[in-house]
């Protein structure tokens, strides 16, 4: 059974994806596999997706961590503040 995961995209990622979207993911799954799924949805976004950090519950999670729950995911492109 697949779970619906809400994803928020910031900044340059929005050239490739909607600010908010939902993807189906069979849990448990690594965050890396979620990234792979997004790359398939839009191969042109591969480079920026490879450089993104992932945040859940306002904390960064390692890409190889396994996602078990349906908490929303925030994709964080490289910072360019200042």
């Amino acid at each position: 059974m697949e779970t619906q995961i809400q994803i928020t995209c910031f900044a340059g990622l929005r050239k490739f994806f909607a600010p908010q979207m939902e993807v189906q993911l069979k849990l448990p799954a690594s965050y890396q596999s979620l990234i792979q799924k997004l790359k398939k949805l839009n191969p042109e976004a591969s480079e920026i997706l490879d450089n993104c950090r992932i945040a859940v519950n306002e904390k960064f999670v390692p890409h190889n961590e396994v996602k078990t729950g349906d908490e929303p995911v925030y994709l964080i492109p490289p910072s360019s503040g200042g």
Binding site: A11, R53, S79, G81, G82
Partner: protein, 155 residues
């Protein structure tokens, strides 16, 4: 919201409010919008942030800074939204008894804020185009990525 601000930053006021009779050295850094970048004429910038996380991360960076240096005060305020040329995008102010700490801590704060905190600049050019900024050319194979390795998956 202490560190992320939707209205213009008045660093002069920030600085005036910063008086501390115990500090002999105050250093202020202002990151400002240049009229050009990578050979293109810039009309203005728009900054976006993942605000709740940006707030928390700047707070943590300031706390780390106080652990590393003997500082009396440190503040950091970053704009989001539209910023014109010569407008202030970010301000860091540090105060210490002696100047070495104020300088070093100030630079440490801005370096970490720029590389770690989820804030992004959108540059608008006179030719009508726009681009999301990068603080460094991360895709270059020669890029050292020291900041990335150090902080990327940190908590």
């Amino acid at each position: 919201m202490k560190h992320i601000q939707h209205t213009p930053i008045h660093y002069a006021n920030l600085f005036d409010d910063f008086r501390d009779p115990n500090s002999g050295a105050v250093v202020l850094f202002s990151g400002e919008v240049r009229d050009n970048n990578k050979g293109k004429a810039v009309t203005h910038l728009e900054y976006e942030a993942y605000e709740p996380m940006a707030e928390k991360m700047i707070e943590e960076i300031l706390a780390d800074t106080h652990k590393r240096w003997d500082l009396n005060k440190a503040i950091c305020v970053h704009r989001v939204g539209h910023v014109d040329i010569s407008g202030c995008a970010v301000v860091v102010i540090t105060a210490s008894a002696h100047r070495a700490a104020a300088y070093e801590a100030n630079r440490y704060i801005i370096d970490r804020v720029k590389y770690e905190v989820p804030i992004w600049k959108h540059e608008f050019y006179t030719d009508g185009s726009s681009e999301w900024g990068q603080n460094c050319d991360c895709s270059s194979p020669s890029h050292p990525h020291h900041h990335k390795h150090e902080y990327q998956h940190a908590e």
